[in-house]
Symmetry: C3
Subunit: 167 residues, 3 copies
């Protein structure tokens, strides 16, 4: 390749990275709501951490507060509480993320709206701010850390949304 071609290739790679990350994030709620636990696992780096803080109303048991690793993440998504929620009608409606990439690392930020069927209509018990720290491993983007905070007014939950915004 000549220099011009190399420049074009770099721009294409940057576009692929952005779109791959948007697609990874948008695929994750599909895995959660369908119970595709093998896929959900593949979205994470083996050393991935899900940091959900300690503020969630306990519709899931207290076993899943704080920060924990991939085995426990997958245990949760296949466990009785989430399975029951799924069978009663549940959806994770995520907004398309804002993405900032720096080489082999990236951050995606978005909102997540949990909705549940109550037998008559859909209600929205939890809306969260989400920060996804990503890492490129063997050419594929993986979740290294997901930080989630309930958007019920805490300073931490609000600041999470603005952390990657540079004027």
């Amino acid at each position: 390749m000549d220099n011009d071609q190399q420049d074009l290739a770099k721009r294409i790679q940057a576009l692929e990275d952005r779109l791959d990350i948007i697609q990874l994030i948008m695929s994750y709620p599909l895995a959660l709501d369908s119970g595709s636990s093998e896929y959900a696992r593949s979205a994470w780096s083996p050393t991935g951490i899900f940091d959900r803080g300690n503020e969630n109303p306990a519709e899931h048991s207290g076993n899943y507060l704080g920060a924990y690793g991939v085995d426990k993440i997958i245990e949760e998504t296949t466990g009785p509480a989430v399975r029951k929620a799924r069978e009663h009608g549940m959806a994770h409606l995520m907004t398309a993320p804002h993405v900032v990439i720096d080489g082999d690392r990236a951050v995606a930020t978005n909102h997540n709206q949990l909705v549940q069927w109550n037998g008559e209509t859909f209600v929205s018990p939890r809306i969260t701010s989400n920060r996804w720290e990503l890492v490129r491993q063997n050419g594929r983007w993986k979740i290294e850390r997901r930080i989630l905070r309930l958007l019920t007014g805490s300073k931490e939950s609000r600041e999470l949304l603005g952390r990657e915004l540079t004027p």
Copy 2:
């Protein structure tokens, strides 16, 4: 073009396909909520099928359950029930789809949240899983089949979301 340029051109085409499909899906609720029936028709392949199952609460008449073709799809979006809903305040809030492309065929998967104004606030009577099977026709992506299922807990509605997820 030399080989390097052909490789770049293929990657660009793949990006264009992904973005074109995301844009096609995101345009569709705009057509539904504005009543742009000519545009809505142009989004479909002439042989397109809308398969919405038989489980929808009948705020629309029973004429529009099961699977039906493009003429009936457009008849529905311009018909009195949907027109009335539109004039009372209605929005189809769709998540950005996850897209899998295989040559001239593709599948996009997402959630759709129907919201309606009840005179005081917005309520959410229906949230669905959506599978859009697409086909490239004369260089443009068209909807060949849309499968929609209410996310009120049925196995079928959940599995629809996970069908294209390969770890």
Copy 3:
């Protein structure tokens, strides 16, 4: 660059424009919900106008109806009413926009769902149609005009969603 390379570069630029605009729109609610007013300002052209009509239920004061410029836009997002809403739990859930580009001008169209924590659950007092008129300035896309209308059934709010849809 030879002609083939110039063609590829044009297609890459078109992809970058589309993705940049989608990202600009998706970043904006993050700024609103985190109170990142410096970033919010940078998203606008200095001559930008926010046209929100006169139909909004007045949870914000009447100072912010009609059409107004960037100083007032930023004043509003940092003002006591929005700050209080933020501290009580608020999120702007925007759908990924449909984008139409014409040279250095573009239009993005999407839905915005405002949700608020009421101490028990999240409620949705306002859903709007949004038209974002954008302009390229020094290589960056900026908001020149944002038109927002409540989706409570008005003809104007519905037509806003369909204006850029060409079959």
